[in-house]
């Protein structure tokens, strides 16, 4: 590797680090993304003089870049903001797949007995990259609702996963110790793909963000391993940066849900409470509901209103309607703020993006720790399409699967208005005691329609 290329790679690595740093604060975040992209361009350009192209090689690179560029741009531009999490999963998965293929090509190139320093990172990259690819595709399918979001479990699931893992270890040893033949590493790839699917199937849709973040870190490590195989400094540094920061981010996310990572991955979350939710639903307890006019009056003559937005709001595309309501109330002198739970939406920070899209100023968005003491002073809490994040079961019932998750103290407000389509439990599938609270008023319907009705009612009040 020449000096110039090494220096260019160094510049790219520095830009990646600076980009990540900027991405960690709201002001510089967008520039951070550009900084990292600039690093990427530099690394790509610097690589070209390193290579000797065959005619076929030049052609497939040209064709591949055009196809991938179109797919990536169109996919990223067309996706609705509500579907961002699954899009991230998809882009992560293809990266993992690419890392695994690069490693396969290297093993082919080195023949039956590559040096250990080539063979080891290659099989690592094949296994981890393939798990990331297949796992991300399942995560995508679950979030896109191409398949059920509830955990899929079957008898002896852990045993099956254990056997898969054991078979993978067996083939890894075969490649390293006996011979690196295509049969061995292709079997390895197939087994790892199956394990990736099996690993994500029992994890519920609500936990997908944590899984995507973990697989993101996996892809980073697979890329770093490919860097060892190719002796490429840029791959090692960038891949490791992602592997390390992605692991930390995964931990931060599971912390925000009040759970350990092991519990998220192996707890088969949805299984515990299925019986409980069904039983509670059958009791048929009564709830209080009210007309739009009543609620309009209540809101218009409040002093402080806190809005708790959830994924239901985003699904109904009601971000603009909620902003309109908030502005209307503010004009009447009502103090309005939004309480954003760390996992509101389907990913940490997802709800902020959705509300920002509707021009809600981010000064009004309050994080949980900041606003939790203010609920007791609020006249009305308006819960729009959220459920689990205000479920008091997280505080009070140790048997509940969400027990220990930090929640918003909506139950301390003077009035709680729940805007929901039905009494159906939330994403985690757990019944919510707060719906039956005497202070709670239900307002059934599609979030957007309901908000529009409230806007008109407040105008009339």
């Amino acid at each position: 590797m020449t000096v110039a290329i090494t220096l260019a790679y160094l510049a790219a690595a520095v830009l990646f680090i600076l980009g990540l740093k900027q991405l960690s604060s709201p002001k510089g975040a967008r520039n951070g993304n550009f900084t990292a992209a600039a690093g990427m361009v530099i690394a790509l350009i610097a690589t070209i003089p390193l290579l000797r192209f065959t005619a076929a090689g030049a052609a497939i690179i040209g064709i591949g870049v055009v196809i991938g560029g179109i797919v990536g741009t169109v996919g990223a531009r067309m996706v609705k903001m509500t579907a961002i999490p699954q899009m991230v999963a998809l882009f992560n998965g293809v990266g993992g797949g690419a890392a695994a293929l690069v490693a396969v090509a290297e093993l082919l190139h080195f023949g039956n007995h590559p040096a250990f320093t080539v063979a080891f990172p290659s099989v690592f990259s094949i296994v981890i990259g393939s798990i990331s690819f297949a796992g991300s595709m399942v995560a995508f399918a679950k979030l896109q609702e191409l398949m059920t979001g509830t955990p899929i479990t079957y008898p002896s699931q852990q045993l099956v996963n254990g056997l898969l893992a054991a078979a993978i270890v067996g083939f890894v040893i075969a490649v390293l110790a006996i011979a690196s033949v295509p049969f061995s590493y292709l079997s390895l790839m197939i087994l790892a793909l199956v394990l990736g699917v099996a690993f994500v199937l029992p994890i519920g849709g609500a936990d997908m963000p944590v899984v995507i973040s973990l697989l993101n870190a996996f892809t980073g490590l697979a890329v770093a391993a490919s860097g060892f195989t190719l002796n490429n400094f840029a791959l090692i540094v960038a891949g490791t940066l992602v592997g390390a920061s992605g692991s930390l981010l995964t931990k931060l996310m599971s912390d925000a849900m009040g759970r350990s990572l092991a519990n998220v991955l192996f707890g088969a979350f949805g299984q515990l409470h299925k019986g409980g939710a069904a039983a509670a639903g059958k009791e048929g307890r009564s709830v209080r509901s009210a007309s739009a006019e009543d609620l309009g009056t209540l809101l218009a003559y409040s002093r402080r209103v806190i809005i708790v937005p959830g994924y239901g709001l985003a699904v109904a595309q009601a971000q603009h309607a909620v902003r309109e309501l908030a502005e209307l109330l503010e004009k009447r002198g009502v103090e309005v703020s939004y309480a954003i739970h760390p996992v509101a939406g389907r990913m940490p920070g997802h709800m902020n993006v959705l509300l920002a899209e509707a021009n809600v100023p981010y000064e009004q968005l309050k994080e949980m720790d900041e606003i939790n003491d203010e609920f007791k002073n609020a006249d009305v809490v308006l819960v729009v399409g959220a459920n689990d994040v205000v479920n008091p079961a997280a505080r009070s019932s140790p048997g509940s699967p969400i027990y220990g998750m930090p929640i918003l103290n909506a139950d301390q407000a003077k009035n709680i208005v729940f805007m929901k389509r039905s009494m159906r439990p939330g994403f985690a599938g757990i019944d919510n005691e707060l719906l039956y609270d005497p202070k709670t008023i239900m307002f059934f319907g599609d979030a957007k329609d309901s908000l529009t009705k409230l806007v008109n009612a407040v105008k009339a009040a």
Binding site: F34, M40, I61, N92, G97, G220, N232, A244, S245, H350
Partner: protein, 102 residues
């Protein structure tokens, strides 16, 4: 163990610490964009894909190289564009007012 491998291990270990340190103070609201941004950065695998594709000289290596380049390019381009889409929406009160008054 040769020198090159030693150097690579050094970079690897140092990059782990940098990766953890650099995002340790990220606010919750930026978790999603940050995940998406790091996702774009591991698209650096495109460099690896180009390296293996460049020398392709048999039907098998051509096929592997082509698929690897397509997947990796999708990762890079999609990753950066979708991150940018998310981040362009973070605005303060002032900016959002000026946009509405247009």
């Amino acid at each position: 163990m040769n020198n090159e491998l030693l150097n690579e291990l050094t970079f690897f270990v140092l990059a782990i610490f940098v990766g953890i340190e650099v995002i340790s103070k990220v606010p919750t609201i930026l978790h999603t964009p940050l995940m998406s941004g790091t996702n774009a950065i591991h698209g650096i695998i495109l460099v690896g894909a180009i390296v293996i594709a460049a020398g392709a000289n048999s039907p098998v290596t051509v096929a592997i190289g082509l698929v690897a380049v397509i997947l990796a390019t999708t990762n890079v381009v999609g990753g950066f564009v979708v991150t940018d889409r998310m981040l362009e929406m973070f605005k303060g009160r002032q900016q959002s007012k000026t946009r509405q008054s247009k």
